[in-house]
Symmetry: C2
Subunit: 307 residues, 2 copies
């Protein structure tokens, strides 16, 4: 099934206790697209870049089977740039630079060939941009997954509420779920958020795994206890890409298949954190993925016979 992804295609400069990078390939749509492409899903990106974006990065996406005709190039503009420094715990970071550049005036335009997509992934962007992408679909996609963050809760509440009401799956982290719902208990937060419109809610808890809720069910997905997190940048987007990629590949949006999709997303994200940026994700092959999925399966398996 065809997958359209809207999100940033960008430069990141990253400092961790293990080293630092110059401007490297980053952006939500980049990670999402690469993760989905590892599952052989035909992925089409909608984004915007400047004239400074190297052709080799576009070639990399194309070589992975990703369609980039929906990435608008502004020749005299500069590409979105983020720089950050991770603390020793690798769970917190300081943003050093955020240059919106061409992203500031981004008005997404879906090419004709994108408009009949079955699966739509709205990467973290302004709610207005996310909405304009939904509105350009010729038919309502079978599944719309939306990522967002606390920034939009603070600055664009009404727009955010409108888009949330239009999607099927919302993915946010635990603190964002608490802020969005005003509830500390994640079980209560999930009820309130599902009442806002989405049929499914994924709460990402980083090293603590993820929770999947619908109206009646909950699934608790593990995270691998990794010995070393080298660079967490893009882990959440890789998770989203593995998640919607698996759903698009299997074309099954039942709760039980979403559970599998979360395990695929978690496994994919566990590669991203092993090297800087997209480095490790680029080289993941089917054997790597199967080995990682086996680790996840073994890690949570137990059998109890109830008396």
């Amino acid at each position: 099934m065809s997958l359209v992804v809207v999100g940033t295609v960008a430069f990141d400069a990253i400092e961790t206790p293990f080293g630092k990078t110059d401007k490297i390939l980053g952006g939500a749509a980049t990670f999402i697209g690469l993760a989905a492409s590892k599952l052989n899903v035909k992925t089409k990106i909608v984004s915007v870049i400047g004239g400074d974006f190297p052709q080799e990065h576009l070639d990399l996406l194309n070589d992975n089977g990703i369609e980039t005709s929906g990435i608008k190039i502004i020749p005299d503009g500069k590409t979105f740039f983020w720089a950050g420094r991770y603390h020793n715990d690798m769970n917190t970071r300081d943003t050093l630079v955020t240059e919106l550049n061409v992203l500031a005036d981004f008005d997404p335009v879906l090419p004709e060939s994108y408009k009949d997509c079955s699966y739509l992934m709205l990467g973290n962007l302004t709610p207005q941009i996310q909405k304009r992408v939904i509105q350009q679909c010729a038919v309502r996609p079978k599944l719309i997954v939306m990522d967002t963050m606390n920034f939009w809760m603070n600055t664009a509440w009404d727009d955010l509420m409108e888009v949330i009401s239009m999607v099927d799956v919302l993915t946010i982290n635990d603190e964002e779920a608490r802020q969005l719902s005003g509830e500390y208990s994640l079980a209560r937060a999930a009820k309130k958020i599902i009442a806002m419109g989405p049929k499914f809610l994924v709460i990402k808890k980083g090293e603590h795994g993820a929770l999947l809720f619908n109206k009646d069910n909950v699934f608790f997905a593990p995270a691998l206890p990794l010995e070393e997190v080298f660079d967490p940048t893009g882990a959440g987007d890789t998770f989203a890409g593995g998640f919607i990629g698996y759903l698009a590949k299997t074309d099954d949006i039942s709760f039980s298949n979403m559970k599998r999709a979360i395990i695929y997303g978690s496994a994919m994200a566990s590669f991203t954190v092993e090297q800087f940026g997209t480095e490790r994700l680029q080289t993941v092959d089917n054997a790597d993925l199967n080995n990682r999925l086996r680790l996840f399966t073994d890690m949570v398996r137990f059998d109890i016979t109830l008396g």
Copy 2:
């Protein structure tokens, strides 16, 4: 199999956003013993109380099949008393009162009938006391499980290291695992702690579940996303009681049975937090427990066929 528990039998006074209590029955050995007794394990407590401890509390323990001849009564002493106030998030609390009272001079003496126990649970106490209990066993128990806390890492490091080297399973929370090992990564922390002596390590992560490690394996156990945590007091001790209780009941200390034991411990702890103190734990019956175990099983079950 017989289970001996050493730990506090005490008074707690608890304030939460939902209400407050006077001095009610508390203490690590109380929660551990009640949880194990729910699994029909013959449990014997070693502890100390003052003349102010009501006979009805001892009756309650006895009525649950718990042996209390190892609880020394100091007629003119006062029972250990803790008072605390939980914050709105229910994850953090302030200690308002800690009166050690008779606990200050506690020198545990195992009755003869305790000395051949197969399973020994060392509740959180000074490492010296934990060691003296081990030394009084006539034969080395089949399994020794030890709970401890950061306070002993700060004040009694050498004694703590000695006792840790004598036990089979150590149960601590994630922050304590990091402090004990000097490693932020829990996977690395587990390796270092297992090198200190214990064959198994349980890392309790509260609302994020628990991890079980041995030298070669890891198991990730979920926690129920509860809508309401009424009072977390005793949850960790209830977990420990369900854990060692299940191991004693089945008399199987393999890794795969420890996984089941962690699920039993988690299920049991999920009852304790529903009411003040031991109130809810007292009324748990077999049907309650099976229903809760079914929730845990359903919550983590997924099937992936690897290609």
